[in-house]
């Protein structure tokens, strides 16, 4: 009965190196309940033979946690940026197309270089300078409501879905994207981090900062962690505008 087994067809956009031309290959893997894209790619890795029976180099991709926490396996599945580990074959239309997120430089096949987001986090000063160690009564207080917002934003795993879906992020533009921008707000609402708020707002006012946002709002639609990105972008817009007024009238 092996021939009658249900198959899953995957059309994968491949690329042999950063400067090589992309090409497509079709693979078939056996269907099983609960199969996700990472598991399907693992099947291809075990037996890298295309649908036409040609043995090829195994498909390269990246993954770590397999539970939608690390962000590493972000790719374009059926035209939409998402996590491969959290994409169940049952919920996808066939044939399934896989492509690398071309907003980022492609290293090989589905493997991309997402380090540009790390550079953006450095640019917006995505850290708290000295949190220090405190005795209990002297420690700076966290407002519990602010802490809830901070918890939500801290879920960001720099997967890059928001950058891939954004029409204003890409080689044609220098926009750092929603994820790294909104991280500035996370550190601005921290009781120690707020002292560096002007520095972060200045960074956001520069070229490719928050002004490059064009309000397409794709980011909030695709965010796998459901972070209310557009709400925090609007809040940062408000903060940046106030900061600009201060710049104009205080100097």
């Amino acid at each position: 009965m092996a021939e009658n087994k249900k198959k899953v067809t995957l059309i994968i956009e491949r690329q042999d190196g950063p400067k090589e031309k992309p090409y497509k290959q079709t693979f078939e893997v056996d269907y099983r309940p609960g199969l996700n894209i990472v598991a399907a790619l693992m099947e291809i890795q075990k037996n890298p033979v295309t649908k036409d029976g040609k043995r090829v180099a195994p498909v390269v991709w990246e993954c770590n946690c397999l539970e939608k926490v690390c962000g590493a396996c972000m790719m374009v599945i059926n035209g939409r940026a998402r996590q491969a580990c959290a994409s169940l074959v049952d919920n996808l239309e066939q044939p399934i197309t896989l492509a690398p997120a071309r907003t980022f430089p492609v290293i090989r096949d589905l493997l991309i270089d997402r380090s540009v987001m790390f550079e953006s986090l450095k640019r917006i000063q995505g850290w708290i300078n000295v949190e220090g160690s405190w005795d209990m009564p002297d420690a700076p207080r966290q407002n519990p409501y602010t802490a809830q917002t901070a918890y939500e934003i801290s879920h960001c795993m720099t997967c890059g879905c928001c950058l891939e879906a954004c029409p204003n992020v890409g080689p044609q533009s220098d926009f750092i994207g929603a994820g790294p921008t909104v991280q500035a707000y996370l550190f601005n609402i921290n009781p120690i981090g707020k002292y560096d708020e002007p520095k972060r707002l200045e960074a956001l006012m520069g070229k490719g900062g928050i002004t490059s946002c064009g309000n397409s709002q794709n980011c909030v639609e695709v965010c796998p962690k459901n972070i209310k990105l557009t709400t925090y972008l609007a809040q940062l817009n408000r903060d940046v505008n106030k900061h600009a007024l201060a710049n104009i009238f205080n100097k």
């Binding site: 029409p167 064009g214 609007a234």
Partner: protein, 206 residues
């Protein structure tokens, strides 16, 4: 000095205040055509009452300069976008793409509109703009359609601009208020388009 932010915000203000006012002035003045030739001609005669030096200052300071700045910087902004409503077909993403497509159309249209009507006919030939001229001009179906498209594009670009203005200035923060503003401004767009349709069809039917 960090100029990106200020230039970008100036672009937003320019569009909403100056070009919004220009659009409303056009719709308001042209809607008087509904009252027949006397309506439009007397409305245009009222504008002639503005002393010439002030009129030219207004034309240059409140129309030409903001329009050139908004247009040229707008082209730079539009070139930074890779529209993708085919993959991400959300309403806001369609509006984002339409904002840029209407902008491209308006850039081309306004070059034709301003050079032909304002600079060539009125400026160089000294031909007064009046009902009779527009009536014969718009009797050409191609001109009529191109003008109608331009008016609809301008109304959409302005009304969607109100929505994005409220987002970029941090006025509308949460999704609920952003939705309300988006719906209201699209209703305004429909209203403006109906007025435009009414006075433009008036030329053809009458």
């Amino acid at each position: 000095m960090n100029t990106t932010f200020y230039v970008r915000r100036l672009h937003s203000l320019c569009g909403l205040l100056f070009l919004g006012a220009v659009l409303f002035e056009h719709i308001f003045t042209n809607s008087t055509a509904l009252l027949g030739p006397e309506g439009l001609d007397s409305a245009l005669a009222m504008m002639e009452l503005i002393p010439k030096p002030i009129f030219y200052c207004l034309e240059i300071g409140c129309i030409a300069v903001p329009l050139l700045f908004h247009g040229i910087y707008g082209i730079y902004i539009a070139l930074q976008a890779k529209n993708n409503p085919g993959h991400y077909g959300y309403v806001r993403n369609w509006q984002f793409a339409l904002q840029r497509w209407t902008a491209w159309y308006l850039v081309v249209f306004l070059i034709w509109h301003i050079f032909y009507l304002r600079i060539y006919l009125k400026g160089i030939m000294g031909h007064p703009i009046n009902y009779a001229l527009l009536d014969s001009y718009l009797s050409n179906p191609i001109v009529f359609i191109l003008y109608l498209l331009a008016m609809v594009a301008a109304c959409f670009h302005f009304c969607n601009g109100i929505t994005t203005f409220c987002m970029t200035w941090g006025i509308a923060k949460g999704p609920r208020v952003q939705n309300v503003i988006s719906v209201l401004s699209m209703l305004l767009c429909v209203g403006l388009c109906l007025v435009v349709l009414a006075f433009m069809l008036h030329y053809v039917i009458m």
